[in-house]
């Protein structure tokens, strides 16, 4: 229960999860539970078929939004972490070499650390002080030895840096390697064209910039690759087959799907198809406004690319005297401003930009915020840091 007199919430934690969601998302989830409550792919009665149609429609909607040519190559997952685990563990074998950026989230770092103990060779390419990965450096590292895959985020959840994933696709493919992209901080916050990008794997959460509910994500797998599935089980058909069917998307979606979550994500994708360009434009304007304001506060260091350079709507700061968790607490308690302090599940990234010890205070800008909200947050920061 909220404390008496608590201020209204001003939500700046979109890099963790977006809030609020468009009404269409809630409506679609309610409809999925009420009107399509059967088990998708299990049985041919009306509620089961309605659930299956809900998922088919959602897959098509998300595929169109992310420019995936063939919807069956887009797998629904429980989130970006599951998608990345599927691709990384399903494709890499002991002895394989991976070139990975130093800006990766633990959703990449931890699976790789586990695989490294099993004999996968992991070579890390360090980012510059702004959290940017240099494609030329990646190319040189890839050329040093046979490489199975290059793994890089599309945008950083710590610095907002946008990485040159298109160039990395060319570099990887020229070396006979795959490119796997963590798109958690990019999808919905910028136009993502997976078909044009050339990535072999592209994973995203559904609940951040894509504005869907938590518990659902998407994973694009190029038709040329056949990663092992992360789990085996019921697929709704071919039940006599003792092994997991190889058909997509069934192969990678064993077990009952999260139909309400997928319905919500599908509705969010349709919402973004109509409103996404405006949301992206507003996010950029608010990010620039916030950045300019933060630069004017004494004692604050703003992480990430310099002003004027394109970035994801993420602004992390470190104060020279006040610990970031203290600022986060005051923002929440006294102003109702929700931010995230700490390491953001990305110790590699913080180490890269020199904030592993201090952590940082992160403002994640997104859907529903206004210029007035940004000004309010800046005033609060000035009061706390002044």
């Amino acid at each position: 229960m909220a404390e008496s007199g608590a201020p209204a919430t001003v939500y700046f934690d979109h890099a963790a999860t977006s809030w609020p969601k468009p009404d269409a998302v809630l409506d679609a989830m309610r409809a999925a539970i009420l009107d399509a409550g059967g088990n998708p792919g299990r049985g041919a009665h009306r509620l089961a078929v309605a659930a299956s149609r809900t998922i088919l429609e959602a897959r098509g909607s998300v595929a169109r939004l992310l420019c995936v040519p063939e919807p069956r190559d887009l797998v629904f997952t429980a989130g970006c972490t599951e998608g990345l685990n599927l691709a990384i563990k399903g494709l890499l074998r002991p002895g394989d070499r991976v070139v990975v950026s130093s800006m990766e989230h633990n959703a990449v770092a931890r699976p790789l650390n586990m695989l490294a103990a099993a004999g996968v060779i992991v070579d890390v390419v360090r980012a510059d002080r702004y959290g940017r990965i240099d494609a030329d450096v990646v190319e040189r590292v890839v050329a040093q030895s046979q490489t199975r895959a290059v793994i890089c985020q599309h945008a950083s959840n710590v610095t907002g840096s946008i990485q040159p994933v298109g160039d990395l696709a060319d570099i990887a493919h020229a070396a006979g390697a795959l490119l796997m992209v963590d798109g958690a901080q990019a999808a919905g916050h910028m136009r993502v064209d997976i078909g044009a990008l050339g990535a072999d794997v592209y994973a995203s959460s559904g609940h951040k910039g894509l504005l869907g509910p938590q518990g659902v994500g998407v994973l694009y797998l190029s038709p040329e690759i056949e990663p092992d599935e992360l789990k085996q089980g019921g697929s709704g058909g071919n039940s006599e087959d003792p092994m997991q069917p190889r058909l997509r998307p069934d192969r990678y979606e064993a077990g009952t799907s999260n139909t309400p979550g997928i319905a919500g994500l599908g509705a969010a994708a349709r919402y973004l198809a109509h409103n996404g360009a405006g949301i992206i434009k507003l996010e950029r304007e608010l990010t620039a406004r916030m950045y300019e304001g933060l630069l004017g506060i004494d004692g604050l260091r703003v992480l990430g690319p310099p002003p004027g350079e394109e970035r994801a709507p993420v602004l992390s700061v470190v104060h020279e005297r006040i610990e970031c968790d203290r600022i986060a607490f005051e923002l929440d308690r006294n102003y109702g401003i929700a931010v995230r302090a700490g390491l953001h599940c990305a110790p590699w990234a913080h180490e890269s930009v020199g904030t592993l010890e201090s952590g940082a205070l992160r403002f994640g800008i997104g859907y529903g915020l206004t210029a007035e909200d940004v000004d309010f947050a800046l005033a609060a920061m000035r009061a706390i840091c002044g």
Binding site: V49, S52, L56, R72
Partner: protein, 81 residues
């Protein structure tokens, strides 16, 4: 009371629910009438959803599915009400 006359239908089976419902969407868009039904056991190990069409529409249905890039995995003729 006399039972309704049985009519010839063809049931299309699919390897996956994704194929079956993609096929349904394509066939409906082409103006074909169909019924979603459980896959007859005679079609073998496929997904649980099949599409039943009037026998007279089979050729058009096959062309429509081919144009939509949807593969069907089996057909069986049935008499049904």
């Amino acid at each position: 009371m006399s039972s309704p006359q049985r009519r010839p239908y063809v049931v299309f089976g699919f390897a996956s629910t994704h194929d079956a419902l993609s096929g349904e969407a394509a066939l409906v868009a082409a103006g074909l009438q169909l019924t979603v039904m459980p896959t007859p056991k005679s079609l073998g190990a496929l997904c649980g959803i099949a599409l039943r069409l009037a026998e007279a529409d089979v050729s058009l249905a096959e062309e429509t599915l081919a144009r939509a890039g949807v593969a069907w995995s089996g057909q069986v003729r049935i008499l049904d009400r």
